[in-house]
């Protein structure tokens, strides 16, 4: 009988360092990278956990790795470093530390998501920036809500169809609130519960508006305006209601876009399919969606319904994967010329 053999080829591995490796995104990144065929973790830095086994801190890794957290940061040994810090700490870190020029940076925080002359970070949404990502040295990974909301709106933005205020509802799982225990992540409170927070003022609105303005046709006068403090927008606004859901993983988003006349649903669907035709993980679905279609995967699914002059877009992602480290690994793959899906062919949780 002919034997079936799993080949293991010699290849050049991407050498990875992780800062802030003991947090939620750090943990999920490690869970991805230990199975990545083209990458290896050189160090996982956490001062407070230095010397501890990674599997004693991060659920689900027991038996898979003997990796330990380190207090060291041997940048010379790596090709890329992931910043898994809380927001605001990435910029502070770079002021206090020098990272060798050849080492690429992928920042999970929001510090460099807004373009500025003061930095060279590329906003890492592959669906619109694939070519820039491939060439960049420093990458700002998009926010979770921001990813999900943008993927729902991008084809309309490009078509110049965002010229009235947009109403967005997006429900996130508890992992969006991070690892630190608190009142709204206490199981006894959150289970069977539902609530809103940061109505109309969520910080991700900045990056969302940046992208929507970037994509709008040159002739369109309709600037998407991040609401100022007095909520007196000059242009179109994205009116975003974030909800806390009664589950751990995923973002479920609906977006209502109003046009001035009734569009052709077929044409709109064709626009969406065309827009995401080359996307590695974002797909248009002809059927309505439920969150668990993407939980556990790096996929985003998008669906639209048209009612008269209104379009309801549904978009869903796993907040820790396509909304965080899955997209970061996708970006890493692009930055290093690896297959875009490498390490991201994940079994959907499904249940």
């Amino acid at each position: 009988m002919q034997r079936f053999i799993t080949l293991t080829a010699q290849r050049r591995m991407i050498k990875v360092g992780i800062l802030g490796a003991a947090g939620y995104t750090g943990g999920e990144l490690i869970r991805l990278l230990i199975n990545h065929p083209d990458a290896e973790i050189i160090f996982a830095n956490s001062e407070s956990n230095a010397g501890n086994k990674v599997h004693d801190v991060h659920e689900g890794l027991y038996g898979d790795t003997q990796l330990e957290f380190t207090g060291e940061m041997p940048f010379d040994d790596v090709d890329v470093v992931f910043f898994c810090f809380g927001h605001g700490k990435s910029e502070a870190f770079l002021k206090e530390h020098t990272i060798p020029g050849h080492v690429k940076i992928i920042d999970m925080a929001q510090d460099f998501r807004i373009a500025s002359p003061t930095h060279d970070f590329v906003y890492g949404l592959p669906e619109i920036h694939r070519e820039q990502i491939k060439k960049c040295q420093h990458l700002a990974n998009p926010g979770c809500f921001a990813t999900c909301i943008q993927l729902g709106l991008l084809p309309l933005a490009k078509a110049g169809l965002l010229y009235n205020d947009i109403t967005v509802s997006a429900i996130t799982g508890s992992t969006g609130a991070g690892q630190k225990p608190g009142a709204t992540t206490h199981f006894s409170w959150r289970t069977n519960n539902f609530s809103t927070y940061k109505l109309f003022t969520h910080q991700h609105l900045h990056e969302i508006c940046q992208t929507l303005n970037e994509l709008k046709p040159a002739h369109s006068p309709h600037v998407i305006d991040t609401l100022n403090e007095g909520f007196q927008a000059e242009g179109i606004t994205v009116d975003f209601i974030p909800y806390r859901g009664d589950f751990a993983r995923g973002i479920f988003c609906t977006e209502v876009v109003r046009l001035d006349e009734q569009p052709s649903e077929n044409e709109l669907v064709a626009r969406y399919k065309d827009f995401y035709n080359d996307a590695a993980f974002t797909h248009y679905s002809d059927k309505s969606l439920d969150l668990k279609q993407v939980v556990g995967t790096n996929k985003a699914l998008v669906h639209i319904d048209v009612f008269g002059r209104k379009i309801v877009i549904t978009s869903i992602i796993d907040n820790l994967l396509k909304g965080a480290v899955g997209q970061a690994v996708q970006n890493m793959n692009l930055m290093f010329g690896a297959t875009e899906q490498a390490g991201l062919r994940l079994k959907a949780s499904a249940f």
Copy 2:
């Protein structure tokens, strides 16, 4: 030592019959009525369960009652009969059966919620119809989503502030889908999941629009229009996205109302407080809400936030109580001159 004594007074009890007593609403009604100080269940009708103990069918009643389902309908022995049928069956039942004229009817279904010359059912929303309810013989109990959405919008409707399309998101627990097992109530599917259904077309829109038009000031030209099949509304529309939530009980609703100029938040809050000043179970909250504030109770809580020209209203209820049989018992109390809160002083689940 002086003894503390719980008084039991002789009083005239409201004699209740229940049709469709083996379903979810039937069960919850029984759970309420067995502790109601002024009512007693004379019969609980269910043909398929005739002879079975109520506590063997309905969770949570073991040890509390020896009541059995009956196949009989002794209408002469009761003051009021609750119709806990599925939608459409109440009207059919009344065509085939004669209920004595002195027996009041409280219908849980949607069959008689829309006013018509062909019937005399009063729409039983006590916040606006208390006096009619007190005098009526036949009452149509409002729908769960309809109750929650209306309670959020009523003060604005009365003030004539509903003159642009309204965007409503409302999430319901699984008990809203009834007792019959199906794909979207399978635990393995629904747990950790989230989805939408009946976008822009939910059947409760009819009763919602009926009430909003009833309340609008005489001078206001802005008719609230239930969308026709082609979604070409003549007037203002309520654009309602219903969601299936990952919990069993409760409705959490947000409603975005757009004005043409920025309102005074203080004035709006005062309107809400004033509107619900006399309501037995509906309260305005100065703080933002979470669903478990009302779960297990007959309360509705309402809160508003104002952002520029937009008002975001949050309204919450327990779908089986204020959204169904709790409100029905409240209506029964009004119809029989009992204290409005009788039998409805319920401990909140809280957890």
Copy 3:
């Protein structure tokens, strides 16, 4: 038409003070007492929350009460004070404060559950101590696990059938872990999860063994032994595995008792029914149990199955009610001669 009238009689109310009123048990106690027909809260003490509205701290009370926490402790104004402290603080409190002799004390903590010449607290399990409770001045309310496990074993203990080691598995909801957020009550960790803790060493074993030894027939040589640190028991042991469940409320307990010969199942069932014949809230069920039969109520349900020489007992309670403040209110009712069920006719959550 004859009017139906809800009577309100003049009666002497039990005046209640609460210490530690801002914790979980304090909150649930307040939820019960605000609807208690024979009791009124005179003060709810919490230093850290003094001046705050109770409804801003405890879920589910908005619209029901304007009660505020106080930093004062006006003992002279009350008939009874509930100690809702964490374990160990009740004893310390009594050393530092003098409570007037006429004021009864109900202690929720474990400080006085074990009988001792140094105190006069009665162990408040009404199923065995009703008469002592009625007469006592100071009462130690049983632990949640302890209540559930004991109610499963009491009839066998009394019959002298506990003469081999007993294996107990009991699963508790997250509210058993209290209000303070921590790793094992973080929603992201606990949802969909399951774990054990304090295997064979749970602190409630002491009160369980105390009761079992108290009930055993005089002729029985089989002392129930709380395992010492070296786990070298002299007598029979209760081998208790506590589990953390993926829900907020309730304890589900199975107990395996081994006999030396096959018992008569009918006789055993008769013993259980007889034992709980007069119990206000504890019932034997002929059918197997599920937890939600008691959630939201003060009930305990017990069921047995016999397999050869082994008896499997299932017992269930709501950990915050029969396992804590529900039982405390039941005890208060007994202590003041009120109806045992007063304030405890609660609608089961069911869903």
Copy 4:
């Protein structure tokens, strides 16, 4: 710059057919195989779903595969066929159909788990039967509870330490109950609930006892006895209480084993570590366990605590993976000489 390249090598793929592909195990098998580096699905048979897209039936596959269900069974085109039938149908199928001799069979049902002269199926628990599995043509995949319970007991069985009755509690997620909706899988009932079923009589006891007897030392007189209907065992019994948990995935098992004298914990731990030293997916953990350490993976984790003469073993698996199709793919890998972990390097769900 050096390019990083993901190699795709030419290799001989294992060609797979699936019968009963529309059920839960069929779906999870497809989720695994579409990412398996050494296997490809040739056909997924389901008569009732013939022509339907697999991604329209099985959650989480949208965008990953265009595979359709077929009503055909082209056995000549495959190397192996998985039977994902309900229990009892595998044997019936084989009586009515002829499968070519070169096609291997992996049966997910219990039909051939008990050895018999009438069939040649090998019981596919790699931890004890790896060599037989490698050579076998027909394989009976173990049951979910059976896998978890056995992995907890195997090292003790081999050491001859199972000579007193064993008490087992094991909690399963709702996916263990299959795809067909029913009363105990209705979300409204199951959420926040807990219950037992099939006490002491679960069908998996047969395969568990078969293995334990197979492993026991030749000199040991202690036969493990599957209880007969009268529950009058001749030998040692496994007293198994199965629980329905409030989650979708996973089995959490505790097993209490009683010895006649106190064992050395160190020696026992060494036995466990030694026993699973070569296991690809089963590991001994020095720390106590929680279920989500294995959910989403093919791993089993085992931990022991010793209390006097009693050993408490905790063992955990994902019921759909190590408890079903994950183990089946592991077995397929062994049967075809592929790497044992191929296609099973799965990211833990963790949350």
